[in-house]
Subunit: 236 residues, 2 copies
């Protein structure tokens, strides 16, 4: 089934919104916000996607992806993250520049291109933002993780991913000396507004709750797909 650029984006948004909210069933308005269109527009498209068997949904009910819809959405994510990795690893893009270009590249239709790109990059498991890249079968590594705001004062952790992929946020992350796999010490937290003082590679910074909510961390002994050897670890 050859889908349009737009149809693909609706499927991807559905997967992303349900993943981010933690709830499988998604509403029309929610989806409209995520796609920067009006609810009426979403409603039209939903009818078409239902017709094609890509979403399950009844009038006034919640929306979920069908098995086929989810497969396609996952494939789009796979392409997006492979392209981000390519741009970052091979073309010297910085991690805040890759997303917008990948938004375009993810819609190129060529199975061979995706497989060859995957091989060229040596089958990467994570993209430049720490997000897992689905493999040919749609499987991905699940990382047990918390946000930086959940880490106790006095504790330390390792950054493994970012939640917000916007250029402005990512540039800010770099500014406080942070990058993937960096150690973070949480020195103190304000009662009143939850402002955190953190230390990264000797550099101390004050960051907001909002900032800390968008940084994913694990215990610094944690390894992907394994049980953490640290018996005190509260992440896995």
């Amino acid at each position: 089934m050859q889908l349009s650029y737009t149809e693909e984006n609706y499927l991807k948004a559905l997967l992303k919104v349900s993943f981010d909210s933690g709830i499988e069933a998604v509403g029309t308005n929610e989806l409209a916000i995520s796609l920067f269109v009006k609810p009426a527009t979403v409603n039209d498209m939903l009818k078409k996607l239902k017709e094609k068997g890509l979403v399950d949904y009844e009038k006034y009910g919640k929306i979920t992806l069908s098995a086929e819809g989810k497969k396609i959405a996952t494939y789009i994510i796979r392409k997006h993250r492979l392209w981000e990795t390519f741009l970052y690893e091979k073309l010297e893009f910085s991690w805040d520049e890759v997303h917008d270009v990948a938004e375009q590249l993810e819609h190129i239709h060529s199975q061979k291109l995706v497989d060859k790109l995957d091989k060229f990059l040596d089958f990467p498991e994570f993209d430049p933002h720490g997000d897992p890249i689905p493999n040919r079968l749609g499987e991905l590594k699940v990382q047990f993780k918390k946000t930086l705001s959940e880490v106790a004062v006095g504790g330390s952790c390792k950054m493994v991913a970012v939640k917000d992929n916007s250029s402005s946020f990512l540039q800010y992350v770099v500014q406080v000396g942070l990058g993937l796999n960096n150690e973070i010490n949480v020195l103190s937290k304000q009662e009143y507004d939850a402002i955190l003082v953190i230390e990264v590679n000797g550099l101390k910074s004050s960051v907001s709750q909002k900032f800390a909510d968008n940084i994913f961390v694990v215990c610094h002994h944690c390894e992907v797909g394994k049980i953490c050897p640290n018996t005190q670890c509260t992440f896995s």
Copy 2:
């Protein structure tokens, strides 16, 4: 000016048709054939492109690209050929597979991507089909060349490009043992139907006039951008 996928294809077709025919001014029907649409459709688009200052044309007159239109069309060609080179050189695509994917990739909007890709490929001057790749300034290497059908019986030459980029033709070229920079000896030619007997790396094959019209060749002493040291050379 951010153009649509379709508008870009019209500009590219205009450049290609005028280049292939050797005549700058192009007609509505000609363009329609090349784009697989109807003349009426071309007419609609022409009005829009004229409005945007990308083509010069008056009702019932011939069509030419404006300076701006030509610049954009050349940039699309640059992207197309860089992507073909990437697929061929880095992702193990064969030369008959690259064109269709490049037709999609040429529409990705990112100046940085193009420049970085160019650098990653070490600023290639020719694509896998022997076509010149315009540089950042839109300049390209012009190769003096003839078609294989113009070579005299008993003569020899070197293949430098193909005219037809279709998968079926390119596969046929490989089948007779030919590739870029291979030496070809023209052993004989039939009076009646111009069937040629050629020899490539010791392999003899009979090829049609149509085939020979689509193979571009030079003298085997010729080098791009230089005057051939062979005083007998009839190519440059």
